[in-house]
Symmetry: C2
Amino acid sequence: MTYLDLYNSIIKKRSFLCVGLDTDFAQIPDQLKNLEFPLFEFNKRIIDATAMYAVAYKPNTAFYEAEGALGWRQLEMTVDYLRKKDPSLFIIADAKRGDIGNSSEKYAKAFFEKMDFDAITLSPYMGKDSIMPFLKYPGKWAAVLALTSNVSADDFETLPLLGHIQMLDDLSAMYNSEGFFYSTTETVGFPLFKSVIEKSMRWGNINNIMYVVGATRPQKLAEIRIFCPNHFFLVPGVGSQGGTIAEVAKYGMNKHCGLLVNISRDIIYAGNGKDFADAAASKAAEAAKEMSIFLKD
Amino acid sequence: MTYLDLYNSIIKKRSFLCVGLDTDFAQIPDQLKNLEFPLFEFNKRIIDATAMYAVAYKPNTAFYEAEGALGWRQLEMTVDYLRKKDPSLFIIADAKRGDIGNSSEKYAKAFFEKMDFDAITLSPYMGKDSIMPFLKYPGKWAAVLALTSNVSADDFETLPLLGHIQMLDDLSAMYNSEGFFYSTTETVGFPLFKSVIEKSMRWGNINNIMYVVGATRPQKLAEIRIFCPNHFFLVPGVGSQGGTIAEVAKYGMNKHCGLLVNISRDIIYAGNGKDFADAAASKAAEAAKEMSIFLKD
C-alpha cells in the first residue's frame, strides 16, 4: 500500500482511526473464553463492529505470544480475517522487532510473507541493518519507534546528543579535532529521537517508513513536523494513556492527513457483556466522528 | 538461576559457550526437512551433540517466527527439551523485545511462564517501563542490548550524549539553566550505550541483568568493564561475524568469568550431511577447549 492509497482510504472513510487489537485473554468477555480460538473470536466480533470506522488495525504481538503457539495461530487468523473483511485496511504488526540483518530478514519473512501484514513496528536501537530488510518488500512499511507514549521515553529517547548541535552563537562555534563541538557560549543538544527520524528518513521514503510518535506529548508532534513534514505518524497513547484526538490533529496533521491514531483499550474493552462489540462500535464511531471534523478541509 | 549458579556451571563445564540456535529451515540438512518438526529435530540433535560443551543455548525467535505458528511450537519444544536435557543449562530467548509496561508484561509471560526461558534479550530504546516487567520474575534475567556486533551499531548506540560529559577542564565547566553543559574549553560526550548500561544497572542487579556486548570491537569490552565490572556480558559476534574467543576473554572477563560467548552459525552449520551433529560437536568442543584455557586461574 502506498502513502496515497492510505490517504485515499482515510478520505473515503473520513477517519484516521487505527484500532489496537491488544487482545488479552483475561479481559475478553467470559462467554468467549471456552471457545477453541477465543482471541480470534473476540477480534472477529470487534472487527465486524468497527471496520466501517477504522482504516487500520494493529494487533500487538505480546498479547498473542502470551498464549503460546495457539496465540500465534490466532494472530495469523486475525490477519487473514482482516485482509478478507476489507482489502483497503492497513494492517500493522505491533511487534517492536529489530535485530542484525540476517535475523531481521527472518522477521520480515514472518510478518510480510507468512502473514500478510502491511507494516511492522521496529525499534531503531541497532541501526540501519535492523530496518533495511523490511524495506525490501514493495508496498510494505516499517513503523520506526521515535518518541513513544510511555513515561520512560525520557530515559533514552529524549537525551540530547552532542554530535547534534544547535549553534546559539555561530561566531563562537567551533569543532575540535575529534569533530566534537565546543563553544565559548553554550550548546544545546538535539534529542536522540530526532536523530532516529532524520537518519532513517534517508533509508526509505514516505511510501515505506512511518514513525511512532506518542500522543502524550502532542506539542512534540509539531516540533517533529518541522523536520519530518511528509511522513505518516502512527500515534499511540490516545485514551487510556491520556492523549486526545484534537491535540494530535492540531499538532501532527499534514496536507495528506499523515496520521494514524491508534486507540486500543478504550475501544476493544468499552464493554464486557454480551454487547461488547456494540460498545466497541460506539466508541469507534465516536472517535471517527471527531476525526472527520479535522478532515473537512 | 543466580549469578553464582551460572558461574558454578561455567567452572564445572570449563566453558562459557552459548550455542545460538538460529535454526533456518533453508539451511538444515535435507534429511530433516520432511519431518513434522524439522527445526526441533535439528535442534535436538545439535543439543545432544553439544550439551557437554555448552553452558547456555540461545534460540533466536526470528527463525521460528519465520515458520509461523508451527515454528513457534518448535521453539516451545526446544525449550522443553533443553530443560529436560540438563537443568543447569541457561536458556536465553534472543527475542529483542521491549514495549510499554502492560505489553512487556505479556512478553514476560510468554517467555518466562508459557515457556521456561531463563533470560530474554531486550531493546532498551523505550526505557525503564519496557525492562522492569521482566525483572519481577525471581531467577529470570533481562539481557539488555548495549553495544551490538553489527556495523550499524554506530548509527545510534555509539552517538555521544550531551547530558553525559567528561570534563576535560573542570575549572571552566559549568551548566546552564536547562542543565546542559557548556565550557570555555571543550567537551566530550559519552556514547548512548554507556548511558544505557549505567541507567539500567540501577533497575536490577547482577543476578537479573546482563548486557549484550558484541565481540566485533573487543577493546570496548575493557572500556565497559571500567564502569560495569560485575555484570555478565552476553557476547555475540564470534565466528562468522569476525570476533575471537581470545580477545573477548582478554578484554571482557571478570573474576567470576562474567562472559557468555555465543557462537551460532559456526557450530550449528559446521556440517550439512548425515554427520552434521558430529561436526557441530567438534566445533563446540574446540571452542570450549579454547575457553578452558582462560578459566585456569
